[in-house]
């Protein structure tokens, strides 16, 4: 399996599609309501980095469950069908 590097998501996805194990080389996930195709094995930490997001300032909900352990983001590989919500604080009353 092609392992995604720390390069941009699109480049990593291309690299993943060129892998030898066909169907399993990508995962389809939904991030903040948007469908995304990611290289199989991409971790949550890599996804955040690809969007220039500081993990300390973002809360991640995966399939309706809040991920409390930010240290685990680096080892959490996203799975096909995952629904992610990435939220943060904005101005409000």
């Amino acid at each position: 399996m092609t392992r995604a590097g720390t390069t941009g998501t699109a480049a990593a996805a291309t690299e993943a599609r060129q892998g030898t194990d066909g169907a399993s080389s990508v995962v389809r996930v939904v991030v903040n309501g948007q469908p995304r195709t990611l290289p199989a094995g991409q971790t949550l930490a890599e996804l955040l980095r690809a969007h220039d997001l500081d993990p300390r300032l973002v809360v991640v909900e995966r399939n309706r469950e809040i991920l409390r352990d930010r240290d685990a983001f680096a080892s959490l590989a996203l799975e096909d069908g995952d629904e992610l919500e990435l939220v943060h604080f904005v101005g409000g009353g």
Binding site: H51, L53, L57, V58, V59, L86, F89, G91
Partner: protein, 270 residues
């Protein structure tokens, strides 16, 4: 011999504003929404002297390269960030937002809002009570936004609210305290701290609200939509202190007859 004049400050004449055991130096809480710029927001908040600052929980914008989160502009060590559940229309949705806010934030306080009507933004009493019960059981310190109805306020206190926040008028309306009697009654009947939230427009509104004996007020649009938010923030800071001190001082009774302030005796002979 000159008399020594003792200078007193509002802090020396009053107890701190306390919610769920946490004491705050200011009785003015402010929101962070709808400012023309983040710089304008920060200046207004600093002028207000507020310690508690409300924020909303929203999706990050994945298409933006520049980070727009509020934590890039407000130092969480200087301000007590109070996450709200604004925009939620059901108890379940508000509970979900509260949990995300607690995870994003720095405390287990939440400003709970469950809205019932998109036009008036009036709160849903049943949904707010239900969400209060769930969140209080999870250890949240719930500050519950509600209408100015005594019975709903009592039910929220029973459900475990750490503070009850009746509106002065609809959110963003600036109409001022439309029913001082209701707010005063809520303050008399509940033990939980009472914060007037929403609808206050200018300094006299804030002073009038504080004169009812409530513990604090929360403002957003009154500052962000003022022509000069920083100057209005300073006015509101003084209004909170003035109204609070007037309440503590105890106003004179109202009379519908004139009573002279100068002696009636000692007048010159005709």
């Amino acid at each position: 011999m000159a008399t020594t004049i003792k200078v007193t400050t509002p802090e020396a004449l009053d107890l701190p504003f306390t919610v769920a055991g946490r004491a705050f130096r200011s009785r003015l809480m402010v929101g962070t929404g709808k400012y023309a710029s983040n710089e304008q927001m920060v200046r207004a908040i600093e002028a207000s002297g507020a310690e508690v600052v409300t924020v909303a929980v929203r999706r990050v914008d994945l298409d933006r390269t520049k980070e727009e989160g509020i934590l890039y502009h407000l130092d969480p060590k200087r301000f007590f960030l109070l996450a709200n559940t604004a925009g939620c229309f059901t108890a379940d949705e508000a509970v979900r937002y509260a949990r995300l806010g607690r995870e994003a934030g720095f405390n287990d306080f939440v400003k709970l809002e469950v809205i019932a009507d998109r036009e008036t933004l009036l709160p849903d009493p049943a949904g707010t009570i239900e969400a209060t019960r769930v969140l209080a059981a999870e250890g949240f310190k719930v500050m519950a936004y509600t209408n100015d109805d005594l019975i709903t306020a009592l039910r929220l206190e029973d459900a475990g609210a750490s503070a009850v926040m009746p509106l002065a008028a609809p959110i963003g309306s600036g109409l001022g305290l439309v029913n001082p009697y209701n707010v005063r009654t809520i303050k008399h009947r509940l033990s939980a701290p009472i914060v007037v939230d929403a609808g206050l427009g200018t300094a006299s509104d804030v002073a009038l609200a504080m004169e009812q004996g409530v513990d604090a007020v929360l403002l957003n649009t009154a500052l962000s939509s003022a022509e000069d938010p920083s100057r209005m923030a300073l006015a509101m800071r003084h209004a909170v202190e003035a109204g609070r001190l007037a309440y503590l001082a105890g106003r004179m009774p109202k009379r519908e007859i004139a009573v002279p302030s100068s002696p009636t005796s000692g007048m010159l002979g005709g």
